[in-house]
């Protein structure tokens, strides 16, 4: 059996428009879904969930957001963590102040708030070209850090500056209390397994949405503006609308990612974690993963986040526990990530997604060479 699309006939327009046209690809996709939704919850322990899977998914969504603005639309943004911050605080305030609110609507609201802020800081894009836009996004980043420090109302005047998130914020089912009573389950709503499912559902939904947006005329407009702005204007694409559109959707994703970062990963709301370093890490994730690629955003997130963990684990496994101290790990990670960025930019500008595509291509023509 070969990995080919020959023999797979298309009998309707709906089949022609499929997101994953090749049958073998669909098998892989469904297998992956089964693993993520069924296998992982059964076998994973809290550490694997909280320190590996959840943050990788959350950062993947954040990278996806940035990839939409930078990879698909060519607007470099160095303020992604600032927008994440707005999202996190929006979700917190809404879940804290409104009793009827659940996490799904809260995340949606977080995305909308971040998206609106993104439009405001993205308006200069109408006048400033590509590279100079980092001024506006850096302004957004510093503004976010200052704003939530200066107005403690948003954190409910918590004296420590950090608000821990209690379980009753995590309302994800209707009649949650009654259902949990019915099944005799403990009401620790912020247990990692529930957080995992919330993150997984949101991530899958957003990734599918992004894939479809990119395949549609919206995505084509983004890419046209990125590649040849003047030519795009000439053929009738409204460049201004497209850029603002891209910014809004990008910041929407960042906002949802920020809310998830606080709720599902860290468990606290704190504006200090949404600093410039976080923005840069997300930029590294999309550079390494591949600009202009949905899969790439996630691959990049896995690599940049996972490398220090991998290194520590490998060293512990080979040399016994506690061999490498944190300073070494940190510096090594910086060197490795930096080197990878430069090497990938030179030899494989499409990043890990590009590498994955060449592997897939090889498989597609196997046993032939090309």
């Amino acid at each position: 059996m070969y990995y080919r699309e020959t023999g797979q006939k298309i009998n309707s327009y709906a089949e022609d428009r499929r997101m994953v046209p090749v049958r073998e690809d669909r098998w892989v996709m469904w297998a992956f879904m089964v693993v993520m939704f069924i296998v992982v919850p059964l076998i994973a322990n809290d550490y694997a969930l909280s320190a590996i899977l959840i943050p990788m998914m959350v950062l993947g969504v954040a990278s996806l957001g940035l990839n939409i603005a930078t990879g698909y639309n060519g607007q470099l943004s160095l303020g992604s963590a600032g927008f994440m911050c707005f999202g996190a605080f929006a979700a917190f305030n809404v879940l804290f102040r409104l009793d009827w609110m659940n996490v799904w609507v809260a995340f949606l609201f977080a995305g909308l708030v971040a998206g609106l802020v993104g439009i405001i800081f993205g308006l200069p894009a109408l006048r400033i070209k590509g590279f100079y836009l980092i001024v506006s996004t850096l302004c957004a980043q510093f503004f976010a850090e200052w704003f939530f420090n200066a107005y403690p109302w948003f954190l409910n005047y918590t004296s420590s500056g950090v608000a821990a998130l209690p379980p009753h914020h995590y309302r994800f089912l209707p009649f949650q209390d009654q259902i949990f009573d019915l099944f005799g389950l403990e009401k620790d709503y912020n247990a990692y397994i529930y957080r995992y499912f919330i993150t997984l559902i949101v991530t899958v939904a957003l990734a599918v949405a992004a894939k479809n947006m990119v395949r549609s005329s919206t995505g084509r407009n983004w890419m046209a503006v990125r590649d040849q702005e003047i030519a795009a204007k000439v053929i009738g694409i409204s460049v201004g609308k497209t850029k603002i559109n891209a910014f809004f959707i990008s910041c929407f994703y960042s906002g949802v990612a920020g809310a998830m970062y606080s709720y599902c990963y860290i468990g606290n709301v704190d504006f200090m974690i949404y600093n410039l370093r976080r923005s840069f890490l997300i930029v590294f994730m999309i550079i390494l993963g591949g600009l202009g690629s949905i899969l790439g955003s996630f691959l990049g997130a896995v690599f940049v986040y996972g490398w220090p963990i991998f290194l520590t684990r490998m060293a512990d496994w080979i040399f016994g526990g506690g061999t490498l101290d944190t300073a070494f790990i940190e510096n090594n990670s910086k060197i490795i990530v930096g080197t990878f960025i430069v090497v990938l930019l030179i030899y494989q500008p499409q990043g890990f997604a590009g590498l994955w595509n060449s592997v897939k291509f090889r498989l597609r023509v196997w046993p032939f060479k090309t």
Partner: protein
């Protein structure tokens, strides 16, 4: 209504002697930003690359110098060794990172320098260490009481800022003379204008780029020393690049006098904003985004900076 009155009050407070002191202090601290910006402009002028790694080069240079002097190496020898190290680093960077990416888009080049920045961070702190070092260059830091010289001008000016301003002026004048009156300077200008034409005329591109990066390395070292005296050698030095960014965006990416003007504007507006307008926005610490907001306003009016070249876009 009250709010408008307080805006008015803030504005009028600026036109006092204290306001003048803040203005001059701000302009002088802005000169520090210009020093960083000069490094950026040099590289952009000659190779069209925006070198984001400027901040870590600052850190690396200062850290090397401080670590050598702490190990009882004679300061002059340490200075020479560090300069040589910076020159070599510049040449290596040009060879390994810039050369292979020469024909890629500006975004790719910029991201390569972002990656390089991260790499150098790890390298600098991995090679030496991440502790905070102090540095003593013997630059006086007492304030000058201007009232002693001009009786009605009762303000204070920092000697340190004056020294930094003097260094900046020397650098700018020196670079100007270099670019205008030497052969190498002429070649550099030719390369920045159009590097394919420069190659066609016989200018050895690789040598020129190596020279530029080497010279920038040394300038970065000097600037790093001054900043380190102000801030002490630690990781926060890398954020200097973020202060230099609004400066070049206002002044224009290809103009060295623009660095100075941009630095004066940013420094002044930052300090004036922080002191007089911070209460209006409900808090302290508006410095950072205020500077970027200023740059944003300037760019909206003149997208390529005050002295920058107008880019002609074609399909």
């Amino acid at each position: 209504m009250e709010y408008i009155a307080s805006i008015g009050a803030a504005f009028s407070e600026m036109f006092t002697l204290f306001g003048l002191e803040v203005l001059i202090g701000g302009m002088l601290s802005g000169v520090m930003y210009s020093l960083v910006a000069i490094g950026f402009v040099l590289i952009y002028k000659s190779s069209g690359v925006f070198n984001f790694a400027q901040g870590t080069m600052l850190l690396f240079a200062a850290l090397t110098f401080v670590s050598l002097t702490e190990r009882q190496v004679n300061p002059i020898l340490a200075f020479i060794i560090t300069s040589i190290v910076m020159v070599i680093m510049g040449i290596i960077i040009e060879r390994t990172v810039m050369r292979p990416l020469a024909n890629q888009s500006l975004l790719s080049l910029f991201m390569a320098t972002v990656g390089l920045n991260y790499f150098l961070e790890g390298l600098a702190q991995g090679t030496w260490d991440s502790a905070v070092h102090g540095i003593e260059l013997g630059i006086p830091s007492e304030p000058i009481f201007v009232a002693e010289y001009v009786p009605w001008l009762d303000i204070l000016v920092s000697k340190f800022d004056g020294f930094a301003a003097a260094v900046a002026i020397i650098l700018v004048v020196g670079l100007y003379l270099f670019f205008q009156y030497t052969r190498t300077g002429l070649s550099l200008r030719a390369v920045s204008d159009d590097h394919m034409a420069a190659q066609a005329v016989g200018i050895p591109l690789s040598k020129i780029w190596a020279i530029v990066w080497a010279v920038t390395g040394v300038i970065t070292f000097i600037v790093g020393l001054i900043w380190a005296d102000r801030l002490s050698v630690s990781f926060t030095l890398t954020w200097a690049v973020l202060k230099g960014l609004p400066v070049i965006l206002i002044g224009g990416l290809t103009s060295i006098p623009g660095c100075i003007i941009g630095g004066l504007i940013i420094g002044a507006s930052e300090k004036l904003g922080e002191i007089f307008f911070a209460e209006l926005f409900g808090g302290q610490g508006i410095e950072h985004w205020w500077a970027y907001l200023t740059a944003l306003v300037f760019i909206l009016i003149r997208p390529t900076g005050i002295f920058g070249e107008r880019e002609i876009e074609r399909i």
